[in-house]
């Protein structure tokens, strides 16, 4: 997961990019077999112990999904992101707000 968090005029803009196939479970591969569903279901962000953003997601999002969201916050503090997919794999990362 790549995260960029920048503050300007009291607003923190967070950009997230996650390498993930986002398979819907509706596609077939070259052999004609169904590619099993494998996509990120939840992405959440917290700042100073509060959830500032939560995404409930689906395979209708592009592969290697991107998200951008904003909230009122301060430079120097941290924003923590977590995601989990339908196969219960996930990742967490905390970044400094620049």
């Amino acid at each position: 997961m790549k995260v960029k968090a920048k503050e300007k005029n009291g607003v923190v803009t967070v950009k997230v990019l996650i390498k993930h196939p986002m398979h819907t479970g509706l596609q077939r591969d070259k052999k004609g077999e169904v590619v099993p569903a494998h996509f990120i279901q939840f992405l959440s962000a917290s700042y100073e112990g509060q959830q500032v953003f939560k995404g409930e997601l689906s395979g209708s999002l592009s592969r290697d999904p991107f998200f951008r969201f904003s909230f009122r916050g301060e430079k120097g503090k941290k924003v923590e992101l977590s995601w989990v997919d339908n196969l219960e794999k996930g990742e967490s990362k905390a970044v400094d707000i620049k």
Partner: protein, 148 residues
Amino acid sequence: MNRRQLIKRLALGAAALTLMPLKALAAWNQKAFHSEFVDPAVEGLFGSKDAKPSVEIELKAPTIAENGALVPITVRTDLPNVTRIAIAVHENPRPLAAAFELSPLSVADVATRVRMAKTTDVTAYVESDGQLYSVTQQVKVTIGGCGG
């Protein structure tokens, strides 16, 4: 970390806002996301399919998408107290693409990239002060001629 730990973490983050049963928070809204049509999907998500068209929502989407696999979408609004924003791609096999939950600290401005099976309407839904609003735009999806 495993799902249980992660869900617990998400729940702790949300605990400051509401007291939702852990199970409800953990369950992905399959009913809404697997719905084949927009209305039941929206109803499954918001509890109602009646959204008021609003000119106060800015839906930024290309008129003609370069490639249906990656269509950049931004939803912005100055409507007050936005709690949720959702994006639906009408003629996708499963129209509901994403549902975003905001907080009192949030600025109502979200962006993502969607997959579009074909030319169809894209609707952005905004839940503000308990009311549901929407704006719709058609996005054309062409099939490029020079693949490989």
